[in-house]
């Protein structure tokens, strides 16, 4: 993919929501999701000439976002903060986040890490099974199993909403 101004603009417009929502599903915090999204696109820009050699920019961005989320979890663990669960939002965030979104986010956050990661990469990142397997370093069969289990578990949590 040859990256130029319009190429980056197109990628940013297309992938912003995917990266942000994936990061949000992983971290449960809008502020952290925003930081991760900005850093992921910054790293894409900083790749300079190497950018055009990235075959799957969407998967590349998700991998960077995933690594950044993992780093934030490690930082939180060092600071003795609990990464699980949903962090309460500030008033500004509550302005655009309604109760249903909170329910969805809470339900996604209850999933085991692998299931949550798989489901988020698929539903929010829009990646194929092959790309998910590549990003997570697991087999495609494992992706199928994790997705099936994640959806089964989520359906129970969100039964009244679905």
């Amino acid at each position: 993919m040859l990256m130029n101004n319009s190429g980056f603009e197109e990628l940013y417009s297309k992938q912003f929501d995917c990266v942000y929502r994936y990061a949000l599903a992983l971290t449960g915090r809008h502020a952290l999701a925003e930081d991760i999204t900005q850093e992921a696109f910054t790293r894409l820009l900083n790749n300079g000439f190497a950018i055009k050699r990235i075959e799957r920019p969407a998967a590349w961005l998700m991998r960077v976002a995933r690594n950044l989320a993992m780093e934030s979890f490690r930082d939180q663990a060092r600071a003795r903060l609990q990464p699980e669960g949903v962090i309460p939002m500030n008033p500004e965030q509550l302005f655009f986040t309604n109760e249903i979104q909170q329910r969805v986010l809470s339900a996604v956050r209850t999933l085991p890490e692998a299931q949550r990661d798989c489901l988020s990469l698929r539903e929010y990142g829009g990646l194929s099974y092959e790309e998910i397997a590549d990003v997570m370093g697991i087999s495609i069969d494992q992706v199928k199993v994790q997705l099936f289990r994640a959806r089964r578990n989520l359906s129970k949590h969100l039964e009244d909403l679905t």
């Binding site: 040859l2 990256m3 130029n4 101004n5 190429g7 980056f8 940013y12 912003f16 929501d17 942000y20 929502r21 949000l24 599903a25 809008h30 999701a33 925003e34 999204t37 900005q38 696109f41 910054t42 820009l45 300079g48 000439f49 950018i51 055009k52 965030q93 655009f96 249903i100 979104q101 969805v104 986010l105 996604v108 489901l119 698929r122 539903e123 929010y124 194929s128 099974y129 199928k144 997705l147 099936f148 959806r151 089964r152 989520l154 359906s155 129970k156 969100l158 909403l161 679905t162």
Partner: protein, 218 residues
């Protein structure tokens, strides 16, 4: 969600469009007959709709875009970060590259006479308008030799050349953009190249809008 039917686990792959055409057709025929799988498919579709309700902060997109725009292009040298305007940095890098490639291509490692011309050009916003050039900055005062050399030059595709920068044959450069043009001239060859940075947001890839051309002196 019920998974009493052994085929129910495949419905997840069906809604993800991850089945082959044959598998998809076969499963759809099965779903039409199987109450469990029909319910499974309806459940998964509703779940997908519910999950889609999780949205990004609508103001974050513009906020991040602005933050990306404000980032400066930086170069590193000897472990230290240097803040260098991109056109100058790119010109220096291309000049060094052109010198190496030109010398290697023409088989001369010691140019007898060398001159560097640096200028910037504002491309016209419309085809009918003339390009506005700034004054040329030369490292040596050898314009007569340069003009003679340019008049007698013959374009040679060096294998690394891109499109020329004269504004007419460079449709990939936006009208109104500012071009930075540098020319390295020796008594054996001329190397010329250009960069443009109309948008500060994506400076490095924009270098590809410029070009590098070699001409042999006669």
């Amino acid at each position: 969600m019920n998974s009493d039917c052994p085929q129910a686990s495949l419905v997840s792959q069906l809604i993800d469009n991850e089945l082959s055409d044959g598998e998809r057709t076969s499963l759809l025929e099965h779903v039409a007959r199987c109450e469990v799988c029909t319910r499974e498919m309806d459940n998964l579709k509703r779940l997908r709709s519910t999950l889609a309700l999780l949205s990004a902060d609508p103001s974050a997109k513009q906020r991040i875009r602005n933050a990306l725009s404000s980032k400066k292009t930086r170069m590193t040298f000897a472990g230290r970060r240097l803040s260098v305007p991109l056109p100058i940095a790119a010109t220096i890098m291309l000049m060094l590259g052109a010198s190496v490639i030109g010398n290697a291509y023409f088989g001369f490692f010691r140019p007898v006479r060398e001159q560097i011309v640096y200028k910037s050009v504002y491309l016209p916003n419309q085809v009918s308008e003339p390009a506005k050039e700034t004054a040329e900055v030369k490292t040596t005062d050898d314009s007569a030799a340069r003009q003679q050399a340019t008049a007698n030059s013959q374009s040679i595709d060096s294998g690394v050349s891109r499109k020329r920068h004269n504004g007419v044959n460079a449709p990939q450069i936006e009208p109104g953009a500012k071009l930075f043009i540098a020319t390295l001239q020796t008594d054996r060859y001329i190397a010329e190249f250009s960069t443009t940075t109309k948008y500060r947001l994506y400076p490095i890839p924009k270098i590809y809008s410029g070009g590098l051309n070699f001409s042999e002196q006669r």
